[in-house]
Symmetry: C2
Subunit: 346 residues, 2 copies
């Protein structure tokens, strides 16, 4: 993706391009962030670095920190997790080497980089930054509800982890391919690494949640679109506060409802089913019109990864007929997804 | 009010009784917290302390810190604010004297007590606590949505500052007078000082907002009521995230809608009117039934301070007829308020 057309005051801004650090993990499922970065931001990565004889690759050029700096790299980004979100001792020498070579380090792990003495010391010695994308920027204001110029699209969902980030990125890419001036606005750690900036909305203090969303998508030219990554769900009993603050502050003109039709219950929460898509549409319109009376649903994004291509096509056609609105799987793309983007822009 | 029937793990717990500090402010409107404490928690105050020749009093016995300790006092609570929320130099000697005398200090001011060297040093020297009721306790978990035992009542509102705290306190007092086992659960700084504990919900990180509300009103005996102070409004574009997390986590059986019928626009927000009371009822039911399918409206609490007694009576009778539900002003009390409490308990 292209660099954002403007740098946001009050939002995180990450140094790019990256050297993508893959650690010594053997299991690709621990490297979701790295695969996401390679898929959505390969033009903002100079190379990848695996250690300890690991064969893991996301398809970029293998590089040492010094080679990455020579290629223009500005930061090593930790693209893997291990259980517990810690930084194992086996990574420390490489991270220190990266700081000594002149790279900053970007991390979304639970542990703070600065809590590891060798890393904190190397950063200080080299005047390099340790950037934790879980930490919101300082100085986020209280929301005002003031209408801003430009257009906004927000991905919402029936639950967490139903494809809101992927949907927003795919719609942003489709807009860019159509020559539309658009920015992807990231609200979670992987999205922030991909975008090179954003605000981790789940880590913002509640009183400032709507204000953070306002900062994230500032006034823009009339034809400009901000495509905003969603968080949580209005129907998730743990995280709906995040979702509502993001909705009010984003004041979207258009929203897309993301859903996994194979999921039967809320992820990780006992006793809560998923709401029907039409209930999410209705509630999002009712609550969203507080800050944008013209809010409307642009379509439904289905995550059909657990269906065959034929099953997915059938399901998408049936739901689109039933709801009278475009339904598509952005991973599968095709004409259904084009129709969804058309309807968002209509 | 009585001490809570249980101490909450994960919630603030303040040392009581208090010496109520009135500073040297001449203007009673800067002493709202002190008047609130004197009204709702006089049995938990040993006395008051004004300095610098101030004539301000909330009707308690004047006392020095040493006299307060001798009378059983455990903490000096700062009951006044001045513009900017700072601690003026003229207060410092008295606050140090209080720490030296053996009192902790409780504050809801913007400035941290520990940021003032003389106060930080005196606290350390005496092994006393500096408690900032704006700071949430550590270790708040993510919400689970699990149904808890006991009954819960939540005050909600058409806006901020419409009487949610007063309403919850008045309903709690009425329940206590009827011999009902009930606790007032505080969610804002003045409420926390009155209750001697609670969680400042607006200062909780968004991801943990519902979880904080769950901690605040834990499992209780079947006949027990938690009467929970509300925050913000679902229709306030700045603070609705706080309101929704509190609603989901509180899982109220009954809610009371608080409203100022004289207010024409949202407090401090340009271009936003107040929602009709019936829209707040409908939205609170729709969103609240996620965590409590049996949620219902117990009545409407009007803040009629700007009306004459006759006007207020007429307005209350008319709105009660129109809505088909009890309407009352808890400050005026009377049969209308009794009917509201009856309906909450029905």
């Amino acid at each position: 993706m292209n660099a954002p057309s403007q740098t946001l005051a009050g939002s995180l801004n990450l140094p790019q391009p990256y050297l993508l650090f893959l650690g010594d993990v053997a299991e690709p499922s621990f490297a979701k962030t790295a695969f996401g970065l390679a898929h959505w931001a390969s033009d903002r990565c100079v190379g990848e670095l695996a250690i300890g004889g690991s064969a893991l690759s996301v398809g970029l050029t293998p590089m040492t920190p010094a080679e990455a700096v020579a290629a223009g790299g500005k930061a090593l980004v930790i693209g893997v997790a291990n259980s517990g979100g810690v930084i194992p001792e086996s990574w420390q020498a490489t991270l220190v080497e990266a700081l000594d070579a002149g790279l900053d380090i970007v991390s979304g792990l639970h542990v703070r980089l600065g809590a590891i003495p060798a890393i904190a010391e190397a950063a200080k010695r080299n005047g390099r930054r340790l950037i934790d994308v879980r930490t919101p920027p300082a100085g986020i204001p209280v929301g005002t509800g003031r209408k801003r110029s430009g257009k906004r699209l927000l991905a919402v969902g029936t639950d967490c982890a139903v494809g809101k980030k992927y949907t927003a990125l795919a719609i942003h890419r489709a807009m860019a391919e159509r020559g539309i001036d658009a920015d992807f606005r990231a609200t979670g750690q992987t999205g922030i690494m991909i975008a090179g900036g954003g605000i981790p909305m789940d880590a913002v203090i509640s009183d400032f949640e709507a204000g953070a969303a306002e900062v994230l998508s500032p006034d823009a030219p009339a034809g400009h679109w901000d495509v905003i990554e969603g968080q949580g769900s209005l129907f998730n009993p743990s995280f709906a506060a995040v979702t509502l603050g993001l909705l009010h502050g984003s004041q979207p003109d258009v929203f897309v409802v993301c859903h996994d039709p194979a999921r039967k219950a809320m992820l990780g929460i006992d006793g809560f089913g998923l709401p029907p898509v039409e209930e999410v549409i209705d509630m999002t319109v009712r609550l969203g019109k507080l800050t944008n009376p013209d809010i409307r649903c642009g379509g439904i994004s289905f995550n059909t990864g657990s269906y065959s291509a034929e099953e997915a096509d059938r399901l998408i056609a049936r739901e689109s007929d039933r709801l009278g609105i475009p339904v598509a799987d952005p991973v599968r793309g095709g004409r259904a997804f084009d129709a969804l983007v058309d309807h968002c822009l209509a």
